[in-house]
């Protein structure tokens, strides 16, 4: 397969420049692919898909018949990120996480940022994921966002924008590791001559971070577990994968019990103490005595044990307050307020519908903007103006009028594209990028992240639940003598 007929069609392309010339960092990749024998690439692609199924790298689709599993489609053409661009992204992410963590800690303590009127307090109190139960809690090292999966996109102007911060329970990192593994197994020749930074050390870094937040007074080697809602959860593969990679136990709510504000797990040899829980279960379902009473997945008394400092939780409950899309609009202000710096990464300009002027603008421009519910994820509750029908726009106008606080709007970004194997040729498909950031003793950014690709022609929605797939992400190492 060759790229001769490939068209960027006026979109920003990660592999070709606007004149259709391959970017220097992708030159070697292009040569390798074009030197393959006819049909070989498609063979690799099919082999990769077979492997995914055999390895059971699947996700469950909600609303589908119970236990229905699908593979998350994988495309062989990687997305390449230059070393110097990555260095800049990494700096920006560290700055952002630092400020967000300060913000969350402030919100559950002195609320200085509200008193100083940088953010209106009603925005915080009306945020769905604000948890008054967490006020006054001091998590170990005062860290609230241990694992973050920030969504980045590149717009037509060439700039990288932060789309969402995803502080609560970000998923997808297992695909980053498995995609790389899959590439090496099915398509090893493309790595030749390139210095792609490895991602394999993520589980070690994750474990180190989790151990670093063990409550004071814990034994030398704290007992860390991963709490999963169970195998029918859509991200169960990732939960078991990460537990296995870290060599820690994968527990369900029913495996744990709280007694005397201490968390125990039920083993074949009786109860054993648990020090750190990497919980992959939402705040709401974590502890029926503190949050949703009807939750069967959680552990009664868990929040009390956490508040008593007997167990550490990652991520910290309540940190979702900063995932609210209205709060998102204030992140550049937070960075200035807490760090005295300008934001390195751009925020997407955001119209807040509870402001009369903003709302009016949004309602008049529904066909041009992307409207999002402030507290939804997974591509749900969203209107992509230019792709919408008149009927959908009427529906959204009514929703906005009924609950202006819950809606924001942003200009429609022309997400950059990467060549993607479609049938027997390449076509451009829109992508985003979700790097993963760990915050323990220090802040570490996984070099790369999950490149999600909207496989439907023209689609801008990359979520797996909405027809998205993924690609390997190659962050190139700086050449010797080029600095870090």
């Amino acid at each position: 397969m060759r790229f001769d007929a490939y068209q960027t069609q006026g979109f920003r392309d990660e592999m070709f420049d606007d004149a259709g010339v391959v970017r220097p960092e992708a030159r070697l990749l292009l040569d390798t692919i074009e030197s393959l024998e006819e049909g070989q690439l498609l063979q690799c692609q099919r082999a990769a898909e077979r492997l995914l199924l055999q390895m059971g790298i699947t996700f469950n689709v909600y609303g589908d018949s119970a236990g229905a599993e699908r593979i998350f489609p994988f495309d062989l053409i990687p997305r390449i990120v230059r070393a110097e661009e990555w260095a800049w992204i990494e700096r920006g992410l560290k700055q952002r996480i630092h400020a967000l963590n300060e913000f969350i800690d402030d919100i559950y303590h002195d609320q200085k940022i509200l008193k100083d009127k940088i953010i209106p307090e009603e925005v915080i109190y009306s945020a769905t994921f604000y948890r008054p139960q967490c006020a006054g809690i001091n998590p170990p090292r005062r860290i609230w966002c241990h694992i973050t999966g920030t969504d980045l996109v590149r717009h037509a102007d060439g700039n990288i924008y932060v789309l969402e911060d995803n502080l609560r329970v970000p998923s997808g990192v297992s695909y980053v590791l498995e995609n790389r593994d899959l590439m090496k197994r099915t398509f090893p020749q493309v790595f030749e001559g390139l210095r792609v930074r490895p991602v394999d050390d993520y589980p070690s870094n994750l474990l180190e971070m989790l151990e670093s937040i063990a409550p004071p007074g814990t034994a030398d080697k704290p007992t860390v577990v991963l709490l999963t809602p169970g195998m029918y959860n859509s991200a169960y593969f990732e939960h078991s994968f990460l537990a296995q990679q870290m060599g820690i136990q994968l527990v369900e709510g029913r495996d744990l019990a709280v007694q005397d504000d201490t968390v125990w797990m039920r083993t074949t040899k009786g109860l054993r103490r648990v020090d750190v829980i990497y919980r992959r279960i939402d705040d709401d379902f974590m502890d029926p005595t503190a949050f949703r009473e009807d939750s069967l997945l959680g552990v009664p008394g868990l929040l009390d044990a956490y508040r008593a400092g007997k167990v550490a939780l990652a991520n910290a409950p309540g940190n979702g307050v900063a995932d609210d899309k209205v709060v998102y609009a204030y992140v550049p202000d937070m960075i200035r307020y807490y760090l005295g710096e300008d934001a390195i990464l751009y925020n997407v300009p955001t119209f807040l519908c509870w402001r009369d002027k903003d709302r009016q603008h949004v309602l008049e421009n529904l066909d041009k903007l992307v409207v999002k519910a402030a507290n939804e994820a997974g591509g749900y509750g969203m209107l992509v103006g230019p792709h919408s029908t008149a009927e959908e726009r009427v529906d959204f106008a009514a929703r906005i009028a009924a609950n202006p606080r819950n809606y924001i709007a942003q200009p429609t970004l022309a997400l950059s594209r990467v060549p993607t194997v479609i049938d027997d040729h390449f076509e451009g498909r829109h992508v985003d990028l979700r790097p993963y950031i760990l915050y323990g003793r220090d802040i570490k950014v996984l070099p790369g992240g999950l490149t999600r690709v909207a496989l439907r022609r023209g689609s801008l929605v990359v979520n797996s639940s909405q027809g998205g797939g993924s690609k390997d992400t190659w962050v190139l190492a700086a050449a010797a003598g080029e600095g870090n």
């Binding site: 199924l53 055999q54 390895m55 059971g56 080697k221 007992t223 991963l226 169970g230 195998m231 169960y236 078991s240 994968f241 537990a243 296995q244 820690i248 136990q249 994968l250 527990v251 369900e252 029913r254 495996d255 019990a257 709280v258 007694q259 125990w264 797990m265 039920r266 083993t267 074949t268 040899k269 009786g270 109860l271 054993r272 029926p288 005595t289 009473e293 009664p300 008394g301």
Partner: protein
């Protein structure tokens, strides 16, 4: 040296059942295969050979209700593909895979890939069952199960979880050998005294082949003598599918899990298993035959069921009282 933390009770249970279901699938596949061969040797009794398969699996009532007559086609459907029968090969592979999936972090990824591939293959076979391929399908299931056991032994640390898997596998195997012996012996009983007709030979050979024991028996005992076959399948010290052999290794694993020395007990399961082991060690086969093989096998199966329920009880740590009260407070 760092201490490996004990298994979660739930994980122990799932690993145990994962291994049991794989062993069950293998046994059913082998048993059907042997019967298909037997059929070729006994063309004048076309459907008589199939009912015992249903009886062996212990699902006679369910089968009768849903399928009626024990024809070859019905029995093969029921035992191979039928998902409503929890003991069919398809169901066993599904359950083994569900259990493996729930403990993926506790087993090796090679084990998971193997059980998952077997499950996916079976899903495909179920969509387009091809009777001409049946022999081949059954063979590949048997090999797949052997492969799974080999992978388990070669890639999983022989720690607590592995011992739970071995415990499940051995108890299942002992149970299946006893059932096959029971059903076949019962059928052959009238002719058991008349030794030497070619058909008796064929039937007894089929019994041995059903547990892969034909050539091993031949090496040791030579002629096919019913009492010696019973002795071989019940008491042989070396044949890995004899009940005694299975109980011995199950007992070893149980003690490896609890840490109590063999010959002593700290848990009810160890006590019941120890009694079973002693009985198999010290009862002469003549006594068993004199007292009735069927009765003996019945009581053996009951004891193995007791072991099974004791194991699950002994290692399931209950929720502490205060917690349990809180959980049901509303």
């Amino acid at each position: 040296m760092p201490e490996t933390p004990p298994l979660l009770s739930r994980v122990a249970d799932s690993v145990y059942w994962m291994a049991r279901y794989i062993e069950r699938a293998e046994n059913v596949a082998r048993y059907i295969g042997v019967n298909l061969n037997l059929q070729l040797d006994l063309p004048m009794e076309p459907n008589q050979q199939w009912q015992p398969l249903i009886d062996t699996s212990g699902d006679t009532v369910d089968f009768k209700k849903r399928f009626g007559e024990a024809t070859q086609a019905n029995v093969i459907e029921f035992l191979t593909y039928d998902l409503a029968n929890t003991n069919s090969i398809a169901s066993c592979l599904r359950s083994a895979r569900e259990n493996a999936r729930s403990v993926r972090e506790a087993i090796s990824s090679e084990m998971w890939t193997q059980v998952n591939s077997m499950y996916l293959d079976m899903q495909m076979q179920r969509r387009l069952p091809d009777p001409r391929q049946l022999h081949e399908i059954l063979r590949s299931i048997r090999l797949g199960c052997h492969l799974f056991q080999g992978i388990t032994d070669a890639t999983m640390s022989h720690g607590e979880a592995w011992h739970f898997a071995r415990l499940g596998r051995k108890l299942e195997r002992a149970d299946k050998t006893s059932r096959i012996l029971d059903v076949k012996y019962f059928i052959l009983l009238p002719s058991a005294r008349v030794v030497g007709t070619p058909y008796d030979d064929i039937h007894w050979a089929a019994v041995l082949k059903s547990v892969s024991g034909f050539s091993m028996y031949r090496k040791k005992h030579g002629r096919l003598v019913p009492s010696e076959i019973v002795d071989f399948l019940l008491m042989d010290r070396e044949f890995p599918r004899s009940i005694r052999f299975c109980v011995h290794s199950a007992d070893e694993s149980l003690h490896a899990i609890t840490g109590s020395p063999i010959g002593s007990f700290a848990y009810p399961s160890e006590q019941v298993m120890g009694l079973l082991r002693a009985e198999l060690d010290f009862t002469p086969v003549e006594h068993i035959l004199a007292g009735g093989l069927h009765e003996y096998l019945d009581s053996l199966q009951e004891k193995m069921n007791t072991v099974d329920s004791c194991i699950l009880n002994d290692f399931a740590t209950p929720i502490p009282q205060s917690q349990a009260a809180g959980a049901h407070a509303d």
